[in-house]
Amino acid sequence: MLEIIATVVLFAAFAADCFLLSLHFIHMLQLNSYRNERYLRWMKENRSAIINQMGWLLLATLAVSCFLIQPTDWKVRLACSILFLLHGYLNIPKKAKKPLVFTARVKRLYATYFLLTALVAAAVFLSGMLRISLGALFLWAALTCFAVLAANTINGPIEKKIAGWYVEDARKILKSMENLTVIGITGSYGKTSTKNFLASILSTKYNVLMTPESYNTTMGVVRTIREQLRPTHNIFIAEMGAKNPGDIAEICELVKPKYGIITAIGEQHLETFKTIENIINTKFELADSIPQDGIIFLNGDNEYIRNRQTGKKAVTYSVNPGSGCDYTASDISVSREGSRFIVTAPNGESCVFVTKLLGAHNIQNITGCIAVAHTLGISLSEQVLAVKRLKAVEHRLQLLPNGYIDDSYNSNPAGFRAALDVLSGFDGQRVLVTPGMVELGEKQYELNRELGSYAASRCDYAVLVGENQAPPLKEGLLKAGFPEDRLFVAKDLNNAIAIVNSLPDEGPRTVLLENDLPDNF
């Protein structure tokens, strides 16, 4: 009797551990777009973490298997169960920024994975529950990362068929909507915010559908079309991401954009593209697929974009008045109400715009959207209200009503500099509150010192948060001639805010909260 109970408990514990382990690996597989080669690369990069996680299962395999064919009694089985449960408990996945989504595909993947696991369990049971059999159970659990890979490979052909069917279905839907105008957006960065801006502005006149969140793959576009496209829509905005050459062309082949925007080209994903030329060519697949009566909108401030011929009707936009671009934003100023700028269209029409958003990159993207909307028949003055209502993403250069600029989600030095540039544009008293940049590796001290020097001429007061992190910033600030009596070191954020509140009253105060501050400030 005890034998039977122990066996049942053992298999239950085994199944539980396998489930908990596979959660993590299937999640990783999902994040790597179910592509085996990307998943393998991820495994390679995280080799040590995986070994840490799975290693003692391997040890258990060895330990149990020592006495190869010795039969096991209930005590051994129970001990193994406890080991499985403990391992599973310790490996319950933590809350992720982008958690695992239980799509139909993930469910199919689980079905196959569990079938494989059940086969292993059945084989073990039939072989008579010898020591080596229990070893096999541990081995199977230890190799979950490969088991998931195997399940994905088995499902591959089926998934391809299913995906193909979805693509054709989406194509049919698009075909039935002759009057739908499709706009594609791509670029190394700024795609998602440009997409959101454009959808808001075009909604003043049209019924607009856009790919939600950061859906930017073929399947993301397909899903949007199948689930959300309605006959009442006039315009469909598709965000197009690329990790490999041909990705953009594939999406374009499906949605056939009449208009396109290339927001920016930089060195993102250089490791998969190998060269910057490959990146440029891939982004310009969008321009290549625009029909002769279509228009490609190009960021004229980006040198990679500017220097490239398209052979299509191109409209350029810029935040540099002297650039000779078709649409330019000029006279940019910042204040408590946000950014104010003038956009001039090629027909000479110009209009003052105000937005809550800060930063040259935002103005640049908005100007591109204004150009598209103007081309689609919305006059500049009709767009003013929509631009005014655009919303900043929380904690990303977000202007708060109390004069604080919340840039606490920024985590790179370039963003830090851009935020300092914005701060320096304000009148009145300008205060920087920051713990400096962290997690930059060995260059951290050096980079923070450079940021300190950069900040010296762009703020009137600096409050550095955290005594340990302050020295490099302080060194940089002082070296660039920042007056020491305007420099404070606070032990935490509350202390920093108290210091800010005790500063002398010198006109309107603008406070930049830069990097890594708690959410609920």
Binding site: S200, S203, N207, L229, P231
Partner: protein
Amino acid sequence: MKTTVAVFFGGRSVEHEVSIISGIQALSALDSSKYDVLPVYISKDNNFYTGQHMGDIKSYKNMDECLSKATRVIPVAMDGRAALMRFPAKKFGNNIVAIFDIAMPVVHGTNAEDGTLMGMLEMLGIPYTGCDVLSSALGMDKYAMKAVLRQAGLPVLDAVMFTSRQYGLNEEEIIGDIESRFGYPVVVKPVNLGSSIGISLANDKSELKNSIDTAFEFSHRVLVEKAVQNLREINCSVLGDIDEAESSVCEEPITSKEILDYSDKYLSNAGEAGGKKSGMSSLKRRLPADIPAELEAKVRELAVKTFKALGCSGVARIDFLNNRETGELYVNEINTIPGSLSFYLWDATGIKFPKLLDRMIELALKRHRERQALTFTYKTNILSDVSLGGAKGAKGKA
């Protein structure tokens, strides 16, 4: 892919039958190359029915047979669209009878045109044509409408309003007040009724009392206003929304009686129900109205202002009262869903019925877009962070 438009008609209203005619007129006029049309009939007891045959006016000659062939449904919201669910539901199988993208209410009178139906569509969260809840309600309540129009500086007749209870307690006082303020003749109206039902003219005290009694049969609130002398009625339709609206040519309803009443408005020539000539469009009228250009311009301007002041959308008809001799001009009432959707006025203005319906649908989508851009809810659940002990405690004490 075509847009599915559900046309709602009927309803618990004295203008039930007229609404069926208007609804089916709209159904048949919707451009079939763009839209799939779904008839949704609201019975006199406010139940919803659908069925292929419900788009044909002949089906309604025998109502029992019509309903027995139909499927009773309830509308529910579904992923940004709306579905008609079979009711009572079958135990097995699919209970979704139809799915639609846009609703087009073509209902007349209380319990429907007054915002009731719009409130339901608002709950469904789908785009719908015509006025929203508030403007529909204002359009139906003649007293509230006067108040809003007066605030907007538009010409309306002074009126006395009282409830049946007030009248029962102070009949003589109220009559005296009316006599001293307006003299005779006066017009007596139920406050919240479409059409002209319950409205009558009183030339002396006994007629006034009779008229008030009649009016109280239809509403608990009655309104009395001075009758305009040398009366000429002028109607004008408006198409658009609060941002932009245009007016149609004007018409002059012709009647042998002093006030256009229900039988004039809807029953004359209504024998050949089914053709596009039936309903409001068959009423005897002069179209375009035989009035001086100056007056016509004034009417059209006031019509657009009235439409915007009430926050209307889609198509509405505004009826004016004009004293031929003195030239005085008053906004009398607004029909937020006019009989036959005033298509005959737009036809005479150069906009064909299918085009008129297209425009109404575009306006519905515009309003829907604008509403979606507003903040109505917060993503976070405020209750998730608070201790609910207090709420429970409060309940305990109650």
